[in-house]
């Protein structure tokens, strides 16, 4: 997959404060990011983190407190929403209840004073794209949630926006439909070549759909990267915990360097790359995903004991207590067949998957 590196959206030092004086709330704090053209970019974070605020700033529904947003190198924030060549898919779809499906989809084109033949042609085209051409003359309230979702998508795509903004568009759908729509959205993005900016609090959604993800917490951007980077190399503990499951284990540095050594509170001494900025005796936090931990049968004096054994079908989740520190491991089912709750076992932290993480 090739991503052309034209900047679609540049967010520069953007700060948004709601209210004033003592009751003011900082929703975004000096956010900086670049979204490339033709990219599926996700803003991911817990509710209230500022991701929707950033989306609404791009759409123009909120006034910016400070900073600058560029759209294809043109300053955006002085324009009202109706002058911005971006369209939004709203969380609850916000379809116009007094207009039928076709007129909903044609709404943007009609406001742009396109000639009628073009409006009809283009509207039918996008309706076909979302496979809703048979529903053109229904009212929104005669459609199911998933169908309304498609119409909202078609409506936003019809005017061929330079960037499509999606505000948690899948959150109101049930699981099966949500999973199907993920694939469809991703396909649609590739087919249309339009830049998607997708807001979600669902990390699985973000990981499966995105080209790149920005993780946001408490108004500031924590990390920007592709799904693999975000998952495998989280920049701090928040990202590590928010995306998937993480073991964060405290330890002490015993030797720095590529073949550094760290003594963990679990009692294990592990080999790990420790940059030279650390000194012997420094406290470190080691991050490792549960599925990266290896376990072996005990050979006598074992440090770890299985506290909880959860069968997951294709895998098993094991909660261990090691020297008083709890460690989680997720393992393929055939590797854990012979273990049960209470067993003493050996655990191993492979060097390539354990890393030092910032608080």
């Amino acid at each position: 997959m090739k991503i052309s590196k034209t900047n679609a959206i540049e967010v520069q030092n953007v700060t948004k404060v709601y209210g004033s004086g003592e009751s003011s709330v900082k929703a975004l704090d000096n956010a900086n990011l670049i979204i490339y053209d033709n990219e599926f970019f996700t803003l991911l974070g817990p509710s209230g983190c500022g991701k929707t605020t950033l989306l609404r700033l791009i759409a123009g529904f909120e006034d910016i407190t400070n900073g600058r947003i560029n759209l294809f190198n043109e300053e955006l924030i002085s324009l009202p929403p109706n002058k911005r060549p971006v369209n939004t898919v709203f969380q609850q779809y916000a379809l116009f209840p007094h207009l039928n499906v076709f007129e909903n989809v044609a709404f943007g084109l009609r406001r742009l004073d396109k000639d009628n033949d073009f409006v009809i042609k283009r509207s039918n085209e996008v309706l076909e794209l979302v496979q809703m051409q048979d529903y053109a003359f229904r009212r929104p309230n005669q459609l199911s949630g998933g169908q309304q979702q498609r119409i909202a998508l078609a409506r936003a795509l019809a005017p061929e926006p330079k960037v499509l903004l999606l505000d948690e568009p899948l959150s109101a759908l049930d699981l099966k439909l949500r999973q199907a729509m993920r694939v469809e959205l991703k396909t649609l993005q590739k087919e249309t070549g339009i830049t998607f900016v997708f807001v979600t609090h669902d990390q699985e959604e973000a990981l499966t759909m995105s080209d790149r993800i920005a993780v946001i917490n408490q108004g500031s951007i924590q990390q920007i990267g592709n799904p693999e980077e975000i998952y495998e190399k989280p920049s701090n503990q928040f990202v590590a915990n928010f995306i998937g499951e993480a073991n964060l284990i405290l330890g002490k540095c015993e030797k720095t360097g590529i073949n550094g050594i760290c003594k963990l509170q679990t009692g294990h001494k592990i080999s790990i790359n420790i940059p030279d900025k650390f000194n012997k005796g420094d406290n470190l936090t080691i991050f490792i995903r549960p599925e990266r931990i290896k376990i072996n049968k005990s050979k006598g004096s074992s440090l770890s004991q299985i506290q909880e054994f959860t069968y997951l079908g294709n895998a098993a989740h094991i909660e261990l207590l090691s020297n008083g520190v709890s460690v989680n491991a997720t393992l393929p089912i055939d590797k854990v067949k012979n273990f049960k709750k209470g067993d003493k076992i050996e655990i191993e932290f492979p060097k390539s998957f354990a890393q030092i993480i910032n608080t």
């Binding site: 529904f61 929403p81 916000a94 007094h98 005017p159």
Partner: protein
């Protein structure tokens, strides 16, 4: 129907009894009396003779001339027409003023909203008669308007704008009296309007004008229709503003009915006009209900 069902429906009847009493005594009863009066012979001392006679209705369209012949008399039709036009005009003006007011109020913060809505309802706290009298002081000769116009030199001191006792004065009085009944229902349907629809529309390149005509107006239509009926119906039968501000020079339906009962002592005729007025209003309400039902099916 089984026994339980019968019990249930009997219970329902008993439960609804207060409603039936209120409806019967205060609504249906008077209507029947009115309808009855309208088909009786008039008694020149007021009241009626208990004798069937349709002259009340006939009088609306026909007059008896000196030779005891029936002659078409358009006078009352003109009054009905004039009342209808004035009521329509008052409704339209109320809508033109009331819609932006309701829109403005609905866009305010909650605390400001409550104060503004309170202000809209304040006129109801004073008697309509007194409030209408106040307009005489404002509109009349040497009234507030003429004096201030004279003061800034738009008119000479001796001139008069002759505002009083005109259709304009009646219209001002009607609009003033009933405009809160226009503002409140429109406001309430604007409150229900989802702001995200407005955001979605402006996201889809709607200008401010587009927003009003393509989104707000169609979606607040039930409130607009409701408010229009609430203004139109009492305007059609109003007699305080027409009497005080119109000087009774140009008779309107409300005044005409009141006149028949109070002065002309022709009860059947008054009742007949009232029945015609009622028929007019019921027809309009019925048409509106049909439009509304279609609107609801669509929405």
């Amino acid at each position: 129907m089984n026994i339980q069902g019968e019990n249930k429906s009997r219970n329902n009847l008993i439960g609804l009894l207060p409603l039936w009493i209120v409806m019967g005594v205060f609504m249906i009863g008077p209507l029947i009396v009115m309808a009855f009066v309208s088909i009786m012979e008039s008694n020149s001392y007021g009241g009626i003779h208990l004798k069937f006679d349709l002259s009340g209705y006939r009088q609306i369209l026909f007059d008896t001339n000196l030779f005891d012949e029936m002659e078409f008399n358009p006078a009352y039709l003109i009054i009905i027409g004039r009342s209808f036009l004035l009521a329509v005009a008052a409704t339209i003006i109320s809508l033109i003023i009331g819609f932006p007011v309701a829109y403005y109020i609905s866009r305010q913060k909650d605390s400001v909203k409550n104060i503004l809505i309170f202000l809209v309802t304040i006129p109801f706290w004073t008697n309509l008669l007194i409030r209408t009298f106040a307009w005489i002081i404002i509109l009349g000769k040497d009234g507030v308007i003429e004096n201030s116009f004279g003061f800034i030199g738009i008119i000479d001191d001796d001139d008069s704008l002759n505002l009083m006792y005109t259709n304009t004065a009646i219209l001002i009085g009607l609009v003033y009296s009933y405009i809160p009944l226009m503002v409140l229902p429109i406001y309430s349907s604007m409150e229900k309007l989802d702001v995200r629809l407005i955001e979605a529309a402006s996201d889809l390149y709607s200008t401010r004008i587009n927003l009003i005509f393509k989104i707000i107006l169609p979606l607040t239509l039930p409130g607009i229709i409701g408010g229009s009926i609430l203004v139109f119906v009492p305007c059609l039968g109003a007699f305080i503003a027409p009497d005080l501000l119109g000087g009774g020079k140009k008779l309107l339906l409300g005044s005409l009915i009141q006149f028949q009962f109070a002065y002309a002592r022709n009860w059947p005729f008054g009742a007949a006009i009232a029945m015609v007025l009622l028929a007019l209003i019921v027809t309009i309400l019925y048409l509106n209900a049909r439009v509304n039902r279609r609107h609801e099916q669509n929405a």
